[in-house]
Amino acid sequence: MDIDALGACLTTPACVVTQTTSGLIVGMLLFLVAAGVTLIFGVLKIVNFAHGTFYMLGGYVAYTALGATDSYALAVLSGALSMALFGVVFERALISRVYGSNVLMQLLVCYAVVLIFDDLVKIVWGPEFHAMGMPPAFQVPPLFIAGGVVPPFYAVLIGIAGLIAIVLGLGLSMTRLGKTVRAAAINPQMVSVLGVNTTLLFAIVFAVGGGLAGLAGALAAPVRSLSPGMGFSVLIESFIVTVIGGMGSITGALVSALLIGLVRGFGTIGFPQFTDGLIYVVMIAILLLRPQGLFGRST
């Protein structure tokens, strides 16, 4: 624990800018994953314990695509699209069989998928760590804001994730599809009776959720290393985000993802040994004060 260092950091603009940026990166990537978790839970009432696998596979697919095409934009796109497709297959082949059965069954199916794909990744890409490396377009000197270092790639990352947050939020509140999704979250039977193809709708929700996680994995690949099992820590954190924000709430996911990101960003200065623990403490505190989460509706 190093409260002095934290205090010193908070009074220096340079340190504040650097830590805020790294916190925003973590938070925004986390939001992309958690948005999928919360969307899937909101509509399907399924806790997708395999969501970290989408994130991991998205990163690996982007890694391979970058090697093949040499274009980071194409790599990110292929990571996101392949995981959208994988989301549909996963929903149709496995998850659709455990709708309505108890949490235990859903949990086991997801647990099995996590185990299988962690090993498949080991077989295909090897058990060692892979570094994707910064795309050449971003290998430029960093920006300096108030003395703090901000690599341009970080700024782009935050921009893309922010854009997606806006598109997702507007899409859910304004478009016909978004309204149908929200209606299905409240009463799927009624939506089905009104003539909406809910089977298709559920597949779309999984495609969006999987695609977002794949996108996050692909975007994160240049700044984090790839390894089998990397999905799990992201999964746990995105769960925490969903629980803090209120399950089913996209706004809640955004706010709490940024909160967790900032706790991480400044926690590394103040509590370098206990950053993970700090996040769990934040979650337990919020759950004690507001069990339904910050933006959740109490049931």
Binding site: V98, N102, M105, L108, Y111, D118, Q273, G277, Y280, V281
Partner: protein, 317 residues
């Protein structure tokens, strides 16, 4: 509770204990004894989890926390103080019970999905404390240096045979106690909460209190399993409290059958045997294990003992 079934349970336990204790007298097999010692810890762990999952309908994904807690509490007490082994074991279980009470007080009021989440998160908090509190727990290296295996009642736990006998006795007694709790009026109350919590509530049962009690008891017996695990590995490692361990316990429960008392024991046996066999042939043991889980979850949709009971209704309890 009638006297008949209780006596029958005791008779079955005594018989099982005699059989298990007799095997090494007839034929010594280190591999088999090793297996039974590991199984004893896992069986207590999985059966205690089933008190939550099968009896009360509470799916905890963080039960490994108490397994790890028991192991660390016991190992630390043996290393840092010179209390005798049974006292250290009892104290470790008591401390774990208290920890389960505290964690349960936070968790049990939440709905099913939140409950699975938060138990997992509390477990990860505990795990990260173990990793970061290096001066006490040895961090990710685990608690090394061994546990002084002091002699108790003529048992020399450094010898594999005596450890085997000790684990067998503790496990059978532990299982018998859990069985007693599960068939007691309190156990019936838990099943009523599982099947219809509103009706249970109308009948005047305070839901959170019953759930908290079940959670605490389950934590205590997981801690006892952890004590045996610490004895076996002669130390304590963070992996004992990590999430895959909780996943294994859930799978053992599911594999054996959640509505049969001995289901988790059978599940733990199958799972350990499967792990031993698979790791001998391939390093990709997650792939095989995952496929088996999928086959059970989507194919059979229930565990082995539940499956048998459905095939011969009324024959087995």
């Amino acid at each position: 509770m009638k006297v008949g079934p209780a006596l029958r349970d005791v008779a079955i336990a005594v018989f099982a204990l005699i059989v298990v204790l007799a095997i090494p007298l007839l034929h010594r097999s280190p591999a088999f004894e090793d297996f039974v010692i590991r199984l004893s810890a896992m069986a207590l762990f999985a059966t205690s989890l089933n008190l939550l999952v099968g009896n009360t309908g509470m799916v905890s994904f963080g039960h490994g926390m108490f397994y790890g807690f028991g192991a660390y509490a016991f190992a630390l007490m043996m290393q840092m103080t010179d209390v005798s082994l049974p006292i250290a074991a009892v104290l470790a279980v008591l401390i774990t019970t208290f920890a389960a009470l505290c964690v349960g007080a936070i968790c049990v009021r939440l709905g099913t999905d939140y409950f699975a989440f938060i138990t997992l998160a509390v477990q990860m908090l505990f795990y990260s404390i173990i990793i970061s509190w290096q001066s006490l727990t040895g961090g990710d290296q685990g608690l090394r240096g061994g546990i002084p295996r002091r002699e108790i009642f003529g048992f020399e736990l450094a010898s594999q045979l005596h450890l085997y006998q000790f684990c067998a006795v503790v496990t059978v007694l532990g299982l018998l106690t859990l069985r007693h709790i599960s068939v007691s009026p309190f156990g019936q109350t838990l099943r009523m909460i599982r099947d219809n919590e509103h009706r249970a509530s109308f009948l005047g049962i305070v839901l959170w209190r019953a759930r908290l009690f079940a959670f605490t008891v389950a934590g205590a017996f997981a801690g006892l399993g952890g004590v045996l695990a610490a004895l076996f590995v002669s130390g304590a490692y963070p992996e004992l409290a990590d999430w895959p361990n909780s996943g294994q316990a859930i799978f053992a429960v599911m594999l054996g059958g959640i509505s049969s008392f001995l289901g988790p024991v059978l599940g733990a046996t199958i799972l350990l045997a499967l792990n031993d066999v698979v790791t001998r042939f391939t390093e990709y043991h997650g792939l095989v294990l995952g496929s088996v889980i999928l086959a059970f979850a989507l194919g059979f949709r229930r565990g082995v003992l539940d499956f048998i009971r459905l095939a011969w209704p009324g024959r087995l309890r």
